[in-house]
């Protein structure tokens, strides 16, 4: 298969403009004759569905939650980047582009990233007009902050709830179109398969989560905005319902899966407290501005933190990275936490935590300043752990947070199945091997508001769409495939719950394909996953039936897909013989323990083709070219 990224050439500043001009347009009178399916209602899916409806297309929109307002974009705390340069501090579209390519450790497409940086400014305008209550200066102008180690202030925010406010903006735009009759909304409905007819994506098979009814929906194009797959690891900062089923089943129908091993681990999460733990909660990265990270010098030191004298504390980030200190990027901070815990110097009951200590900041600035800056975060920490971080240092540990990999898409955001588009975290596009803070919201909204609504018209205008009868063999086949999986899960009648299998898979992935990876460990994981997956299918216990609200059945279907995806993640991690961004292979590091890229051998996108159950996937490579930002070693010493 030839991967054609359709990336424009010529001066990067005008690529998107020239490309847009080259796209065919759909006559306004014909738009309502095209039905487009949008799956997922987060920032990407919600904004795309609303915008396509505004353009006049007929939209069918699906989400598994009870309302489109609940998608997990809502949980993003920090902010959204835009190259507005309102602070006159040297920011520009080019600088945001540069930072994002470099932050992605030179594993993204320059053209895509440049477009993202260009569009970032339009996103802020759009969201302000919708009534998103961004933080303001006393003058009434928009406020910005510097975030995630950026040297310019380009992050727009709405308290600690930026994702929520941006999502509600998109949701309200979507509801406006629902009221106008241009969007038909299907909440509590899960996509379980993709319908491909004559090589084109023509619809989806869904299950109504309340009645269990399996239905087919036909359209001229299908858009997936279904998010990332961090829940492969069971414990992550994702919502409990976040899943990979839509993208995975599309993958099995022919969409290539790109860079699955690029997973981002966030360094500041509340650690696991027991076996019952169901998810991990993120504490905003901003805490590292004033908190100091440390562990005891001695192994197995169980004294209370306040009784450990200064010379017996190891402020390891400050020691190893004197210039960035506690503010090193996410991947570096995470790996160092793991390293000190692996040495046996971790704290707390489990030994899998490090201290984030505000004692010195409180002495220097006073508790009231710290309260002003982080009061809500301190309250949240205390609510969850029962400890007061003003007097006892916080305990933190890294957790899976975001996945940079996803379905492969071209510059138009179309997958390798014509008519199937993938937007937001579900695609692999803009973040390379590592995503910078405050960039996920930017990408989701860029895709949904501004990129896809332009590019999808070209496809719709240049293809014919024959009517598809309900009894079409491809529709029947997809429906019976869904029914078969459901029946198999219900008929297994084993002895173990879905969650117990999911936990076991997650533990395996975290141990062997988490913060740092080795060829041996990945081979070990690859030898264990198939056996565990077989046990899942024979021993899983799903009660009830398929014709009712059955939350165990929903979970079981998602976990079945995680088992297959987990294997692909390990295959990809094993094949990528380098360390880059969120993928750290212990064999590939500099003498002082930093990630070492192999630009000569590995500067490509790894796109995997599904070849059937039990058959090794086939690798396709899309080479990456860097004409503007030249690959260099990241250094934070």
């Amino acid at each position: 298969m030839e991967l054609n990224s359709k990336t424009p050439t010529g001066p990067i500043e005008t690529r998107w403009d020239r490309h847009r001009f080259s796209l065919k347009l759909v006559n306004p009178a014909n738009k309502r004759k095209h039905t487009v399916i949008v799956v997922g209602t987060g920032l990407a899916g919600g904004s795309a569905a609303a915008t396509l409806a505004e353009l006049g297309y007929n939209i069918k929109c699906f989400c598994f939650q009870d309302s489109p307002r609940r998608a997990h974009s809502i949980a993003a705390q920090g902010g959204i980047n835009a190259a507005k340069n309102y602070h006159n501090d040297g920011d520009s579209v080019y600088r945001l582009f540069y930072d994002t390519v470099k932050g992605g450790d030179f594993r993204s497409r320059e053209s895509n990233v440049y477009r993202l940086a260009q569009i970032s400014v339009n996103i802020i305008d759009q969201c302000v007009a919708q009534g998103v209550p961004f933080a303001r200066e006393y003058s009434g102008y928009l406020d910005n902050r510097s975030f995630g180690g950026a040297q310019v202030s380009r992050t727009f925010y709405a308290r600690g709830q930026t994702g929520q406010q941006l999502l509600l903006g998109a949701y309200q735009a979507l509801e406006r179109q629902t009221a106008a009759g241009r969007v038909q909304m299907f909440p509590r409905t899960e996509m379980l398969d993709l319908i491909v007819i004559d090589g084109q994506a023509r619809g989806i098979v869904t299950r109504n989560l309340v009645t269990g009814a399996v239905e087919s929906h036909i359209a001229d194009a299908v858009v997936l905005g279904t998010g990332g797959y961090g829940n492969v690891y069971y414990l992550s900062t994702n919502a409990k319902g976040s899943n990979a089923t839509a993208i995975w089943r599309a993958h099995k129908r022919g969409a290539l899966f790109a860079n699955p091993c690029y997973t981002q681990i966030h360094p500041t999460c509340i650690p696991v407290s027991g076996d019952y733990q169901s998810k991990l909660t993120l504490m905003s990265e901003s805490l590292r501005n004033d908190g100091r990270v440390w562990v005891p010098v001695k192994k197995g030191d169980h004294r209370a933190p306040s009784t450990i004298p200064e010379n017996e504390r190891d402020y390891y980030l400050e020691r190893r990275y004197p210039s960035f200190g506690n503010l090193v990027p996410r991947d570096v901070a995470s790996r160092n936490s793991k390293a000190v815990c692996d040495e046996g110097r971790g704290v707390g009951e489990t030994g899998l935590a490090v201290y984030l200590d505000f004692r010195d900041a409180i002495e220097r600035l006073g508790a009231h300043v710290i309260k002003e800056r982080y009061g809500n975060l301190f309250d949240m920490y205390e609510r969850i752990t029962g400890e007061n971080p003003y007097t006892v240092p916080m305990r933190i540990y890294p957790a899976i947070h975001y996945t940079m990999g996803g379905l492969w898409v071209d510059y138009n955001l179309m997958s390798t199945i014509p008519g199937l588009y993938v937007i937001g975290e579900g695609n692999f596009s803009d973040h390379g091997a590592n995503r910078l803070g405050a960039s996920a919201l930017m990408q989701g909204l860029a895709d949904g508001y501004f990129v896809l609504p332009n590019t999808i018209g070209d496809y719709l205008a240049s293809h014919r769409f024959d009517a598809v009868e309900a009894g079409h063999p491809a529709v029947r086949e997809a429906e019976s495939q869904v029914a078969r999986v459901t029946r198999r899960l219900l008929d297994a009648k084993g002895s173990r719950s879905v969650d117990s299998f999911h936990r076991e898979l997650g533990k395996l992935m975290w141990d062997y394909c988490g913060m740092s990876r080795t060829a041996g460990g990945l081979q070990e994981a690859l030898s264990k996953i198939p056996g565990l997956r077989d046990r899942f299918w024979s021993e899983v216990k799903v009660l009830g039936n398929g014709e009712e609200l059955n939350q165990s059945l929903e979970k079981a279907g998602r976990v079945a897909d995680f088992f297959e995806l987990a294997e692909l993640i390990c295959i990809d991690a094993l094949h990528r013989n380098e360390s880059c961004g969120g993928h750290f292979r212990e064999e590939y590091q500099t003498p002082d323990g930093e990630a070492a890229r192999e630009d000569n051998a590995c500067s490509y996108v790894a796109a995997w083709e599904y070849r059937g159950a039990g058959v090794a996937p086939e690798l396709h490579q899309e080479p990456l070219y860097f004409e503007y930002v030249h690959p260099s070693q990241r250094s934070y010493k």
Binding site: R69, R70, Q164, Q172, K279
Partner: protein
């Protein structure tokens, strides 16, 4: 610690439900309430009994998916928190807890503790937005918003749409939810052109959905996990009267 749970079990909207008694013998005080239910469900599955259905998603208090009554209080005893942020250390060993779904005519029960809150979406669809299509916005700084207005708009916009306000209100009124959206948009300059029509359309929709009316009881404010203030309801009433007196019609 050990807890006695009485949980509302109802197979679907058509069947009648009943309270069923369960014991949670081994509760860790550091668990969240939903994790306690996860453990209970694992035990039920092991025994071959249907697990208790409850809505949840982000488990960090922002998606608004979770929520039910604990001993008659929406989201339970901890103020300013959703059930997913409520930990078991707030309960006593041996305590008896009664878990029931949101009760309101506009929120029919789907199963056990799961209710249908789609009426909230229809309230927003009736007018809870600013009509701006993608691409037509001016520069963000072309619209100045006084900091105080932005802050107060944000206070109201923090609503997560969980439905606790409706569940706790003896009238099953959606006024706190409506008022929050009307205040959020009405406090901003962008929201002015549609302000009069918005309040009329949303209030009319709320009557159609068979939510009750507000009689200033204040239970909604007491249980709101985002601590939305009652003043948003006063604001909504003021906007409604103003729109009516000025002869503005919702259509």
């Amino acid at each position: 610690m050990r807890l006695i749970l009485h949980i509302w079990r109802q197979r679907n909207a058509a069947e009648t439900g009943r309270m069923v008694r369960y014991e949670a013998p081994d509760v860790n005080p550091d668990m969240s309430f939903l994790e306690m239910l996860d453990v209970l469900n694992e035990g039920l599955i092991a025994k071959g009994e249907d697990p208790v259905a409850f809505d949840h998603d982000c488990r960090e208090g922002i998606c608004g998916m979770c929520g039910f009554m604990i001993n008659g209080v929406a989201h339970g005893p901890l103020r300013g928190a959703t059930i997913c942020q409520l930990h078991m250390r707030h309960f006593r060993d041996g305590q008896e807890l009664y878990l029931e779904p949101w009760r309101a005519r506009a929120f029919p029960v789907i199963r056990d503790l799961v209710v249908n809150r789609s009426a909230f979406d229809r309230l927003i669809a009736a007018g809870g937005f600013i009509s701006v299509s993608t691409g037509s916005a001016p520069d963000g700084n072309a619209i100045l918003v006084p900091k105080e207005s932005a802050d107060r708009a944000m206070d109201a916009a923090a609503c997560i749409g969980c439905g606790a306000c409706v569940a706790m209100c003896p009238n099953a009124s959606a006024s706190l939810f409506l008022g929050a959206k009307i205040a959020h948009l009405g406090l901003l300059p962008q929201g002015q052109p549609e302000r009069a029509g918005r309040v009329q359309k949303m209030v009319r929709q709320s009557l159609q959905e068979r939510f009750g009316s507000c009689t200033n009881i204040g239970e909604c404010e007491a249980v709101c996990p985002k601590e939305i203030k009652l003043e948003v309801i006063a604001r909504m009433h003021r906007d409604f009267l103003k729109a009516a007196w000025s002869g503005h019609s919702a259509d």
